[in-house]
């Protein structure tokens, strides 16, 4: 149910004197004191809301979201698979959640055992040698690995200033490279949607530190030139970084380390189904090849016999990219997932993710173009270009209209190399019936009236928010109405 009464803001519900949480009386005799100059005249002007109003407000708001638990959510590149409920129950165990990040190793051996095993599992799945669980998200994993690459080349006495990035890459790749102090150089895609080897060769030289590749790439294609690419890079002494956003396609089938990647990140919230939390938290652990292990952030979990400990004695480490150990709550869910699936289950994930995507592709290809081929991996990019050209129906129109059918829209207008892109990733946890219903909706939409589609969605409480107004007038907070 879509609850319109929830559109009032917390601040509009506020009435002086109401509150939800009440504290016990103070049980110590000390008044304590702080210098008057440090004190505010009163507490911050937060809203005052009673408990039932507070609960209704947020619960009603929750019904104004689409989510995996309520809707098919084929958001390309985001791997919106089912989030198992057992993870939520087990990760909420107080003996896991109520651990202070700086308590002694001896007092959290159970958790350290899990984190140590998670390092080992992620190294095995990557086919690489060392893992840091520290980065908070994929983008921070990218940054961490690039900072390590810089430290590695500095250690070797080499000055390498460039990072090469395919034009189909996620925006985080160039943003992370710039933040790590590198110049970015874009490498073209060829007509097959893969890395243009001639363009790569022409841009590759001794200044190149890292080539960042997403494989399968953002078009959902496995770049079968990968062995040649990694050989070219290694021949010039450069490193290959794998953006692991698309690991859901290759679990147990091929490993980044086996196809020549030297460093990679995982998105635990995607591949290993930590819930996406309406925009996070994620976790972005990185795996690297042997020569880069000394540069991993500090600390790592180490093992000595049956005892686990945090190893800070790592003189060549780049340091740390955040406070404390990492997004443990998400890592724990990822570990629970891997332990639930086992080797066969992990492989089944990728087999069925790829099967589901290809099935959807086969259902749509007669009506929506898929510019880069008949087959895909775990996702594919369809194009509404013909509909746009002939009938002025855009990818956005289609995405918005899908909401009326109870489906979340695909990722639209990404990757940039496809016009009117609709990036569709069904994941392995959807049934054939759901895929069929989604395909039927897309086919029906392609036949609908253009003007009708321009105004979609029609069935939801809202339609087409004015984004230009939002950016121009920038109202980023509620303000108390001024009293006359």
């Amino acid at each position: 149910m879509d609850k319109t009464q929830a559109t009032e803001l917390l601040f509009e519900l506020s009435r002086p004197g109401r509150r939800t949480h009440r504290l016990p009386d103070c049980d110590v005799p000390t008044e304590g004191s702080l210098p008057a100059s440090a004190l505010a005249e009163g507490p911050p002007p937060l809203p005052e809301v009673g408990e039932i109003d507070l609960v209704r407000h947020f619960i009603n708001l929750s019904t104004r979201n689409m989510s995996i638990d309520t809707n098919f959510y084929p958001l390309g590149s985001c791997t919106m698979k089912y989030n198992p409920k057992r993870h939520e129950r087990l990760a909420a165990h107080p003996s896991m959640t109520d651990l202070h990040p700086l308590q002694s190793d001896e007092s959290c051996q159970g958790l350290l055992a899990i984190l140590w095993e998670m390092q080992e599992l992620l190294a095995e799945i990557a086919g690489l040698d060392g893992v840091s669980l520290q980065p908070a998200a994929g983008a921070q994993g990218e940054l961490t690995a690039l900072l390590m690459a810089a430290a590695y080349f500095r250690h070797k006495g080499e000055r390498r200033s460039r990072v090469l990035i395919p034009d189909s890459a996620h925006g985080t790749n160039p943003a992370s490279a710039a933040l790590a102090g590198f110049d970015t150089v874009s490498v073209k895609s060829n007509s097959r949607g893969l890395v243009d080897l001639d363009d790569l060769r022409s841009k590759l030289d001794e200044r190149t530190a890292v080539f960042m590749i997403t494989n399968p790439n953002t078009l959902g294609l496995f770049d079968d030139q990968i062995a040649t690419i990694t050989e070219l890079l290694h021949h010039k002494g450069a490193l290959v970084y794998l953006d692991g956003a698309n690991m859901n396609a290759i679990l147990g089938i091929t490993r980044p380390g086996d196809f020549g990647a030297d460093m990679m990140h995982y998105n635990v919230h995607k591949t290993f189904t930590g819930p996406h939390g309406a925009g996070g938290p994620g976790a972005g652990p990185i795996a690297v090849r042997k020569q880069l292990v000394p540069f991993l952030p500090t600390p790592l979990v180490a093992r000595s016999g049956e005892r686990f400990y945090l190893d800070y004695d790592r003189p060549q480490s780049i340091g740390r990219v955040r406070s404390f150990f990492g997004n443990v709550g998400i890592l724990l869910r990822g570990w629970l997932y891997i332990r639930t699936l086992g080797p066969r289950g992990l492989r089944e994930v990728s087999e069925n993710a790829v099967l589901n995507a290809n099935y959807l592709l086969s259902r749509l290809k007669g009506v929506y173009e898929v510019p880069h081929g008949e087959r895909c991996m775990h996702e594919f990019v369809a194009s509404a270009w013909t509909l746009k050209r002939e009938r002025k129906i855009s990818a956005m129109d289609i995405g918005k209209r899908l909401l009326d059918f109870g489906f979340h829209a695909p990722t639209v207008y990404f990757p940039l190399v496809v016009k009117e892109a609709l990036m569709i990733e069904p994941t392995e946890t959807e049934s054939k019936e759901t895929l069929d219903a989604f395909a039927d909706a897309l086919l029906q939409i392609s036949r609908e009236d253009a003007d009708f589609l321009h105004e979609a969605p029609h069935e939801l409480a809202l339609s087409r928010p004015d984004e230009v107004k939002a950016a121009k007038e920038t109202v980023l907070r509620w303000q108390a109405p001024s009293t006359p």
Binding site: G32, V49, N65, L179, H276, P343, N352, N358, E428, K432
Partner: protein, 470 residues
Amino acid sequence: MSYVLNTSEDQRAMLAAIGVSSIEELFHKIPPSLRLNRPLQVPPALSEMELTAHLHQLARRNRPAGEAVCFLGGGAYDHFIPAVVDVIAGRSEFYTAYTPYQAEASQGSLQVFFEFQTLICQLTDLDVANASLYEGGSAVAESVLMARSIQPQRRKVLVAASVHPEYRQTLATYTANLDLHIQTLPTPNGFLDPDDLKKAIDDQTLCVVAQHPNFFGCLEEPEALADVAHQTGALFIVSFDPISLGLLKRPGQYRADIAVAEGQCLGNPMSYGGPYLGLLACREEYVRKMPGRLVGQTVDRRGRRCWVLTLQTREQHIRREKATSNICTNQGLMALKATVYLAALGPQGLKETADLCMRKAHYAAARLTQLAGVQLRFNRPFFKEFTLQIEGSVPALLAGLLEKGYHAGLHLGRWYPELQNCFSMAVTEKRTRAEIDGFVSALADQRDGACNGVPTPQVRSEPVEQTIHG
């Protein structure tokens, strides 16, 4: 068990529709030489019952705050979390959604983030706040990068040594390859003396970074620091404790330009360090230099008030290498928890929480310093955390107290070689007088017993300077 629904019949039908004879054929682009020709070496699958038993067994080897009384602080605190926070954050419409790219299908999350931004503005007395960063350490790094893009011609960053050592390490790592000079200003008296800042600052100084209350628990003099910073045109960045703002002046009131914080204390469990919540608020004029997502108010085509992601041209998916930050996924669920927490407390609840922390911390400090050989290391006002100096080995004392059932404190010698004999303690509103009194007795016994029978643990050393540009 892979949560896959496809039966073998489904698979056959789907393969036929695709026009291939096997799933294997769908992977034909992956050259055979690159295939993994063996099962992954991961442990065999566990059923839900087995997994539950295994997790519970491992959990028994942890000693959480509920089993030992927690006086640990240093950026993560054992505050109380009202049930409404967990119940609301447990709504799967929130936790199984993603970034609200499709506004019509995400008004729940978008409105929560708009409320979150407003609450953080109210909390800090600043004009704008983003929809969250990862956590407190990278929030400091992001704030310095933001200052750099506001004043690109300046290069020098002054950071008080009383800022959380791990935040300073994070800043050092983030900026290792950028043309910035980071200078740490000593704080021998437990705070950054504004006169010392005056001596170090110059017209090349981009920003001054302080933490208030700082890592030792002491209050800084933020107004004086802001004045010194502003006199040379530097920005003043403060890392604050959200709970402290129930009592203390707010960053906007002491003229901070950018305020950042660790928001774990706002309804998030300690979870061994994450996921946490980075807060960032600033003055209106810097809004286009902010990192991270922003939610703005607008109207839909029928004129109804609603919310959308806005000012996205700052962000990596549009601006790529020229983005204000590389951040993409942030901490939406933690921001939701903080929103519910602040709404559940309200102004009075926040004030009472802060007051209880302050009074209990002062009670604990007063009782502990009555013991012979135990004293406050710094003669400074403090909020909920303070630094004690003792005679003898701090690690041995802390290990002994853990045996007695107390997570007693943080050994500061780990980060500050000159503070070998010191540890910091945090006292939240959850601590009772009985727990504090019990701790005072345990500490007295422990010292009298001179650590009999407790092996001296290995001393961990992690001076910040060593890790810079490693």
